[in-house]
Symmetry: C2
Subunit: 97 residues, 2 copies
Amino acid sequence: MKISEFQNLIKDLYFKQDQNRGINGTFIWLVEEIGEFARILRSKEINFKNASEELADIIAWANSLANLLEIDLESAILEKYPKMCFRCKSNPCVCNR
Amino acid sequence: MKISEFQNLIKDLYFKQDQNRGINGTFIWLVEEIGEFARILRSKEINFKNASEELADIIAWANSLANLLEIDLESAILEKYPKMCFRCKSNPCVCNR
């Protein structure tokens, strides 16, 4: 699936609720997912299924925010990461981004 | 660009550094990007170019973590968001995920 297709899917699914919640409220949900992911990372044995779900949620909430901000995430990603490191311009990166 | 292609690009670019830094160290970078994005959101007028870059960075660091955890992010996303809300099973969502 393309990055842009996923953004559109998240828009179809959740834009109305995202709009009602607003940017700040939606950001809080993103941060909550970061916290849930952190909790998985600090467990003795990382549960990879749970980690996968939390990473998917982080991506989904970032897409909700992109929709609210009218940001085309695929374009933003391609602009920042154009097949080379944005800082050292190498692939692979030779700095520490 | 497909979600999986971007994950591979981030692997090509940064996997060596990500490995050296480790999961916990890489998570701190993700959280730093969340903080930078927060700073943009709380400014009087949101700078959309900066917001785009920070969202791209959040996605990129989430991909670095997926690489370290050997998680296929596209599969994880499609499994959690299979063209309907994972909770109410509707499209558009009729709950509040």
